[in-house]
């Protein structure tokens, strides 16, 4: 065991989170977090592949379970490394936007738990980190008054997902006798349960409500931190979950792409728009991974890596817009390109990347997914992905136009004090994320080198791909030009939460009331039975009339007990 495998790297983040509990100095906590990320990133890139730290959890033989706390393989390595990079940028951003030490600590705990889940070599360890992620996320949502209620719903959604995951994992264990990932192929009911749990975290269509419910509300740094990890860990775990070709899952991804992007186009709240793009973007990952071909998995993972980078950057940009203007709605901001040049630049890079414009990372990874789709012969899916790409261009043309390009609406005359506490930290965060967005675009070989085998950089800039991208971009920009006026008149679009939340509330209240009534009725019946049987023997009221109040009964009973005990002991001794 070398120094690199003596402890798992996510402990660094947990240690940094601990620093946040011990000191009130923001600089110290941010420094500890940045240091953790700076050490974890190269560590994850060079650590030898394999199952490290095999342990028995919860007891020695024959009790307890085999577990692997730190497993590195070609799938986990790039995801872990990118998480570390994003964690560094997030820490800088949270510091720059004035996050409290408590928030910084919770964010580091959340990152540590996410990394722990990625590096877990067995399902039990995965479940532990999975649940901790949910805990840390709800603690993050407590950070601002606006999101506390959403935090409750977040907790409930993830409890349901976590229960499904845990049940599936335990059921699989009861059949195979092991939690180790390499040795368990999920099938049948366990597979369905695990898919439901993983799907909840990944925000699969129908289970995506918590994303758009919670992410637009909290403190801007909290949104940035949360947006990066939970859904990506879900998509990543899908790689571990799917045992064989299952086009159903891939098509579910296609549906997520289209539905997510459609809803996104209809939004005016900046962070809500981006939240719907999480659904759509994770759709690409699910589509690729759901093919369960080497090329599909590699493509899905490539999109995961790129997406964490540019989507985090987009949320950072949205956060700066919200902080600077005090407004969440794109309708009420504008003209920010001149006021916030660096932010506008960051937006430009990230938007071009997510829109799949050649020369940026999204183009490459989207291409890997569509090629894998075509290779698998899933033509309808290929079309879903391409149409979704047009929608992506539309919504980022919209975001860019409203926030940066059009002149400021008249109401924005108030000049607010600069909300950014540390501009160098903000610029560093932007740079850390923007550079790979460009680098992976111009040099696809770098990206492919990180991935498990199956992807090829050779066809990234083929003529047909470039032609597709040109058509998509043109269609998107034209689409926005056509749709801008009708979209501006749109009222907020209903979401499934209109159905879920009242239903859940009513279910809980109804069940609790029914149970309380049933419990009370049972209790009354039992009380009556007990009372009747005693009424024959004694009448406590009459006892009280005789001067035996409860106080004296108390002492009396105690004395009686002692006497009985002594008598019994004496009897026993003699007998």
């Amino acid at each position: 065991m070398s120094l690199l495998t003596a402890v798992p790297p996510h402990l660094l983040f947990l240690a940094a989170a601990l620093v946040g509990l011990l000191t009130a100095d923001r600089r110290v906590v941010a420094g500890a977090g940045a240091l953790a990320a700076l050490v974890a990133l190269p560590w994850l890139l060079v650590v030898p592949a394999g199952a490290h730290l095999p342990v028995r959890l919860f007891g020695a033989t024959p009790f307890g379970f085999e577990a692997v706390l730190f497993a590195v393989d070609p799938v986990a390595r790039p995801v872990g490394a990118v998480f570390a990079l994003v964690a560094l940028a997030n820490t800088l951003y949270a510091y720059a936007t004035g996050s409290s030490t408590r928030l910084l600590a919770a964010a580091l705990l959340y990152v540590g738990a996410s990394l722990g889940a990625v590096l877990a070599g067995d399902w039990l360890t995965l479940v532990v980190w999975w649940e901790l992620m949910a805990v840390a996320a709800t603690v993050l949502l407590w950070g601002s008054a606006r999101s506390v209620r959403a935090g409750y719903r977040y907790a409930v959604y993830h409890q349901v997902g976590g229960v499904a995951l845990t049940a599936g994992v335990l059921l699989a264990y009861s059949r195979t006798g092991t939690f180790l990932m390499g040795e368990t192929a999920l099938a049948g009911l366990p597979l369905l349960l695990v898919l439901f749990g993983v799907g909840t975290n990944a925000g699969v269509l129908g289970l995506h409500v918590w994303i758009v419910d919670a992410y637009p509300l909290p403190d801007v740094a909290t949104t940035v931190v949360l947006s990066g990890f939970t859904t990506k860990v879900g998509a990543y775990t899908l790689v571990r979950t799917l045992p064989e070709q299952s086009l159903a899952v891939a098509y579910l991804g296609g549906a997520m792409v289209l539905a997510g992007v459609t809803m996104a186009v209809l939004q005016t709240d900046a962070r809500r728009l981006l939240s719907y793009h999480i659904v759509s973007q994770v759709g690409y990952m699910v589509a690729g991974i759901g093919l369960v071909t080497a090329a599909g998995t590699a493509g899905g993972l490539a999109h995961l890596l790129n997406n964490v980078l540019y989507k985090t950057l987009l949320f950072m940009v949205a956060g700066v817009v919200v902080l600077t203007t005090g407004r969440e709605s794109l309708k009420r901001v504008g003209g920010l390109a001149r006021r916030l040049p660096a932010t506008a630049g960051a937006f430009g890079v990230a938007a071009l990347a997510i829109a799949g414009v050649p020369g940026f990372s999204g183009f490459v990874s989207k291409g890997l997914v569509t090629s894998a789709t075509a290779a698998a012969g899933a033509d309808p899916l290929w079309w879903l992905l391409q149409v979704g790409a047009v929608g992506t261009v539309v919504s980022f043309a919209k975001f860019g136009y409203y926030a940066f390009l059009r002149p400021a609406p008249g109401t924005d005359g108030v000049s607010r004090p600069d909300p950014v506490r540390s501009r160098p930290a903000l610029l560093a965060a932007f740079t850390l994320l923007a550079v790979p967005c460009v680098l992976f675009g111009v040099a696809p070989g770098l990206l492919v080198g990180l991935l498990p085998p199956g992807a090829s950089a050779a066809g990234a800039y083929s003529v047909s791909k470039l032609a597709d991208a040109a058509v998509i971009t043109a269609a998107g920009v034209a689409g926005f030009a056509l749709l801008r006026r009708p979209l501006a008149r749109l009222t907020p679009v209903p979401e499934l939460d209109r159905l879920y939340h009242p239903l859940g509330r009513r279910l809980q209240d109804g069940a609790a009331r029914a149970a309380a009534d049933a419990g009370a009725a049972l209790g009354r019946t039992a009380d009556r039975v007990v009372a009747r049987s005693y009424a024959l023997a004694s009448d406590p009221d009459r006892l009280e009339e005789a001067g035996l109040g409860p106080a004296s009964i108390g002492t009396g009973v105690l004395v009686l007990a002692l006497v009985v005990a002594l008598a019994l002991a004496a009897l026993a001794w003699l007998g």
Binding site: F58, G549, L571
Partner: protein
């Protein structure tokens, strides 16, 4: 497995018993009086700890007082299962004693001598339950436990307390009668009432109808104290007792003596094979499963913290009852772990409820809004323990629930896993709003919330810095200066123990005893 004659089991019963007259004798000198409690508690812990080593090594410590009735001896025998229960109660008595001093003095309670004396008597009876070598001896201590805890339930001497005490006696003594009936029937069928790992062989060949009747009597009798619905009525009412009583007795000693009885029944009287052959496990499992869910739901509608905790206790106890009813290796191990896990987690919650009451006078959930400013460490302990009850990892409840669920799957009754998951989710619905309201000061309306916070019990000058209603009114206190060390220490200890049990359970001797129990009954 060798029986060794030893006085340690007797000493465990005798030591707290002897403290009772000493406490009464020192009625007028409270510091010395509490000194007796501490000496007895630490002495008891020492005695049980001294028994733990040999028991883990495979010895069984026996104290036989000779013939009791018929040819049943009055005997104490420290086996792994009994020692686990005794060690648990002894450890928590030490913590509760410190806490009790802080609590009754903080509130200037009346009749403190009676309180401490009855507490010691309850512990003596609990030790008897733990170490009883046969059903009849168990019955004697089981009844004594009821009697000894009665003065604690009626401590307040209000009408409400009297009524609760009457209900308490009626239920639990009635349950005791059923246990006696079952014990007699077992004796008639098998010619012995001794506890045999894996069950008394003669019961497997006895008349099935009578055997089922015996099981039914014993199971119902023990289910009363385990508060399996519909026999749970006494437990929520008994919450009128002072909080340390609710904590140690009504979350650990008394209720767990019921659960312990069910464990003895399922593993040492009838045994897994016989329970399976007679088909008596399923009705008990069904009742326990229904209770776990129903009580979890009822808890959501309670506005008073201690009431909500009481119903949560009812639900959690049925986790244990269900595990014993399934009566298979992993399920039983899970049940044993949950005896431990629930003890540490629930006593923490009751302790916290008491600290909140002593420091702020708040009894209702709605009054807890923002209270973490005033009681940061205390409410952190509350958050940890309640997360454990909901089954979150790194706290004891996760490990026990993991085994319980695996037990249902491996025993082929996976449907009961739904109970555990559903009940766990209900705990989240119960506790999340409380924790969130305490820490974030806002959130969804807490279940069954009362509109107003309760009035501080003591005058404003002594209300612990709570100037007026609302979150901002709580004075921010440093984590270690929030309450007296006698109150905070036990809270942190029990919460910390719950975490240790959740992270490295294998390192805790209590878990070693649970493992030894399972090995003894189900084989290695």
């Amino acid at each position: 497995m060798t029986d060794v004659a030893s006085l340690l089991p007797l000493a465990a019963v005798f030591l707290p018993g002897a403290a009772v007259p000493a406490i009464y004798a020192l009625d007028t000198r409270p510091n010395l009086r509490e000194g007796v409690t501490f000496v007895a508690a630490l002495g008891l812990l020492g005695v049980v700890a001294a028994a733990t080593g040999p028991v883990l090594a495979g010895d069984r410590l026996v104290f036989d007082a000779g013939r009791f009735v018929l040819d049943v001896p009055f005997a104490l025998r420290a086996d792994a299962f009994g020692t686990m229960f005794a060690l648990l109660a002894a450890v928590l008595w030490v913590a509760t004693s410190a806490y009790s001093v802080g609590y009754v003095r903080g509130l200037a309670e009346h009749a403190q001598t009676r309180y401490f004396a009855a507490f010691a008597a309850s512990l003596a009876a609990t030790m008897g339950v733990a170490f009883a070598a046969n059903l009849l001896t168990l019955f004697v201590f089981y009844e004594l436990l009821t009697v000894a805890t009665y003065p604690l339930v009626t401590h307040a001497e209000t009408d409400e307390a009297r009524a609760a005490g009457r209900t308490y006696l009626a239920y639990t003594l009635g349950g005791g009668v059923l246990v006696l009936g079952g014990a007699v029937l077992v004796y008639a069928l098998a010619g012995t009432t001794a506890f045999v790992p894996g069950g008394v062989a003669a019961l497997a060949t006895a008349d099935p109808l009578l055997a089922r009747l015996a099981f039914g009597l014993l199971a119902v009798g023990f289910a009363v104290k385990t508060a399996v619905m519909p026999l749970h009525g006494w437990l929520p009412d008994a919450m009128v007792a002072p909080t340390p009583v609710s904590g140690l007795l009504h979350a650990v000693a008394v209720v767990k003596s019921g659960a312990f009885g069910l464990g003895r029944l399922a593993m040492y009287v009838f045994g897994p094979g016989t329970v399976d052959a007679l088909g008596v496990g399923l009705p008990l499992a069904a009742a326990a499963g229904a209770t776990a869910v129903l009580a979890g739901l009822v808890a959501l509608r309670k506005a008073k913290l201690k009431r909500a905790l009481a119903y949560s206790t009812v639900s959690q106890l049925s986790y244990i009852a269900l595990g014993f009813a399934i009566d298979a290796r992993l399920a039983v191990f899970g049940a044993l772990l949950h005896v431990l896990a629930h003890a540490f987690m629930k006593i923490t919650l009751f302790f916290v409820a008491g600290v909140v009451y002593v420091e702020t006078g708040v009894e209702y959930l709605a009054g807890l809004r923002g209270v973490a400013r005033r009681l940061p460490a205390t409410m952190t302990a509350f958050a940890v323990a309640s997360a454990g009850l909901a089954g979150f990892p790194l706290v004891a409840g996760f490990v026990s629930k993991l085994h319980l669920v695996l037990g249902t799957f491996t025993a082929g009754v996976g449907g009961f896993a739904v109970v555990y998951f559903l009940a766990g989710t209900l705990k989240l619905l119960l506790f999340w709003p409380i924790v969130s309201s305490a820490f974030a000061g806002a959130g969804p309306p807490v279940a069954g919330a009362e509109p107003a916070t309760s009035e501080p019990r003591r005058p404003a000058a002594a209300d612990g810095g709570r100037a007026s209603a609302g979150t901002a009114a709580w004075e921010r206190r440093h984590p270690l200066a929030e309450t007296s060390p006698a109150l905070l220490g036990p809270v942190l200890f029990t919460a910390g123990a719950a975490v240790v049990l959740g992270v490295v359970p294998g390192a805790v001797p209590l878990v070693g005893l649970a493992e030894a129990t399972v090995t003894e009954v189900f084989g290695p």
